[in-house]
């Protein structure tokens, strides 16, 4: 947000009953965030430091939950698997999302309208409905199997669900819109004149893409990929329903530990591991983008 729009007069310039106006405006939201975002997360930290298997009548402090998590190969494997799927999904989203986002940014508004609705609908549609749709598509009696057996490609219905490929496909479909919109917003700020200039200098599309568009679009690409990555590693509905017991990701293991097994301290520790990974990823990418792609002047502007 641009700070220059704020009045030159400092804080406390306007008061109601002696209380600065900004405080009255900020207080309700700040109270909500402090009470129901910060406090619950602090509560999770406390629970994760209980020594016992449940938090019921627990006392004391210990790092036992974190030790259990990182010393058990099963959980470390799940962590790596989650990471791997996160990277795969964000790379596929980039490859598929870039051409779409780019073309959306360059289309005239009239043609853009319907395509944009196609992109936004999966984003706003309830996640369970999307996953249910994929269950119907990929199920034993689903259309893919019906088509395969109908065309005589396979003899009997194949197991398509509960495979890693299916989980990746569904995650890509869910999070692709974020990538598309991120690329679209950054490309629409690139002046088409730059591409024409490159074309006049006899650069072909590929060279123009690599030397002109890609560097300029990099902040959007990175923020889109980060968003897809953190959404993927914290997914739990999709791995649970599409992956079943075969594909374990951090999100559905946490859900299982707490909702099914009621192992609160351990689940709390795992969710904090997830939160820390998320925050580190975001901070690292934001810092990199700020250092690499913003001149001191634009940095000041963006603040």
């Amino acid at each position: 947000m641009n700070e220059t729009t704020a009045p030159a007069a400092g804080p406390g310039a306007e008061r109601i009953c002696g209380i600065p106006k900004w405080l009255l405006l900020v207080a309700p939201a700040a109270a909500l965030l402090a009470a129901f975002l910060v406090a619950p997360l602090v509560g999770l930290v406390r629970t994760s430091l209980y020594p016992g298997p449940t938090s019921f009548e627990s006392t004391g402090w210990s790092l036992a939950q974190y030790r259990d998590f990182f010393s058990d190969w099963y959980f470390v494997d799940v962590l790596f698997q989650t990471f791997r799927i996160g990277v795969i999904v964000s790379v596929i989203s980039l490859v598929l999302g870039f051409p779409v986002g780019y073309s959306l940014a360059r289309l005239p508004p009239a043609q853009r309208r319907w395509r944009l609705i196609f992109v936004i609908l999966p984003l706003t549609l309830s996640l369970v409905v999307v996953v249910f749709g994929w269950l119907v598509v990929l199920g034993r009696n689903g259309i893919v199997n019906a088509a395969l057996t109908g065309l005589g490609i396979v003899e009997s219905p194949q197991r398509l669900l509960f495979t890693e490929g299916a989980v990746i496909l569904v995650l890509v479909q869910q999070f692709l819109p974020f990538m598309i919109l991120s690329v679209m917003s950054v490309v629409s700020q690139i002046d088409p004149v730059l591409e024409q200039a490159a074309a006049n200098l006899r650069a072909n599309r590929f060279v123009t893409f690599r030397r002109v568009i890609l560097p300029l679009a990099m902040p959007g690409i990175l923020s889109g990929m980060t968003l897809v990555f953190i959404l993927t590693i914290s997914a739990f509905i999709t791995p649970r329903l599409i992956g079943g017991n075969q594909i374990q990701m951090l999100g559905n293991i946490i859900y299982e530990q707490i909702v099914v097994l009621l192992r609160w301290p351990f689940g709390a520790a795992m969710s904090l591991v997830l939160l820390v990974i998320t925050l580190i990823t975001i901070t690292a990418v934001n810092g990199y983008v700020a250092r690499r792609f913003m001149t001191p002047r634009s940095r000041e502007h963006a603040r």
Partner: protein
């Protein structure tokens, strides 16, 4: 010429990818609607015939219709709450310089980056401690919290683009500050307000990742109802209920497209 070949290749592959992406994005919704119109008792493909029987079954089911109204009510109240809090926050961030302004802005946008499963667990435990577990209020607080970033961001952009001279003109005509907001600021902000409210509503209406922690036995929203149902079995009534969700979502998006243009909500 050498360049022509690369140009054509890129053009063709771009076309293929775009076609594939749009098809894949729409596939689940289209398939659900197609499956919901079957006349059969199972969801085998191709459907055995067309009928509305599963839609009338869905409408007659108190389980699903109760959950639908619960979702609509919850989303409406949570939208009003988050719009109120979000407008005040965005207004303060945009118009005042105060200590902790940047930190407050980061905090207001942070429900977006905290993984939903972490927030859900944190709230579930916290509500149990303060006696709000499985309550409507708890669910309402959770939904308001996750809508807040969208509202603050959309309204913040709207306020930043607002022409301040119009407000100053009203002030020069001796309009009182609240009158300026009511008669000048809010009407000018209308497109932003509509898109923020609609996006907040749709987010809450479809949310399952948070509701599944907060509303399993208390207030059951429609997505949670579908989730618990789909875990055990799935039959065409589920497709019909999902079809209703798709219709509601699509209608809202089309309405906003008519009112303010769809590119505003992204």
């Amino acid at each position: 010429m050498r360049v022509d070949l690369i140009d054509r290749l890129m053009q063709a592959s771009g076309l293929c990818i775009r076609f594939f992406v749009y098809c894949t994005l729409m596939l689940p919704a289209v398939i659900v609607v197609a499956a919901s119109l079957t006349a059969d008792n199972t969801m085998a493909f191709p459907p055995a015939g067309l009928s509305w029987r599963w839609y009338s079954a869905a409408v007659d089911s108190p389980q699903f219709m109760g959950a639908l109204w619960a979702s609509v009510r919850l989303a409406s109240v949570a939208t009003c709450l988050s719009m109120l809090l979000g407008f005040c926050s965005a207004f303060a961030i945009n118009r005042y310089r105060f200590p902790g302004r940047n930190q407050f802005q980061t905090l207001a946008l942070s429900p977006l980056v905290v993984p939903m499963v972490v927030l859900g667990l944190g709230l579930l435990q916290f509500f149990a401690w303060i006696g709000l577990n499985q309550s409507y209020v708890g669910l309402l607080i959770g939904h308001t919290l996750i809508m807040l970033p969208y509202v603050v961001r959309t309204l913040g952009t709207g306020l930043a683009l607002l022409d301040r001279t119009l407000e100053e003109a009203a002030q020069n005509l001796r309009a009182r500050p609240l009158t300026v907001i009511r008669k000048v600021t809010l009407p000018l902000m209308l497109p932003s307000l509509i898109s923020a409210a609609v996006f907040a509503f749709v987010t809450s209406f479809g949310n399952v990742t948070l509701s599944v922690f907060l509303g399993m036995t208390g207030t059951v929203t429609l997505p949670v109802q579908i989730f618990t149902y789909v875990e055990s079995s799935y039959d065409p009534i589920l497709a019909a209920v999902s079809g209703i969700v798709i219709a509601v979502t699509l209608l809202i998006i089309l309405a906003i497209e008519r009112l303010v243009g769809v590119s505003r909500i992204v």
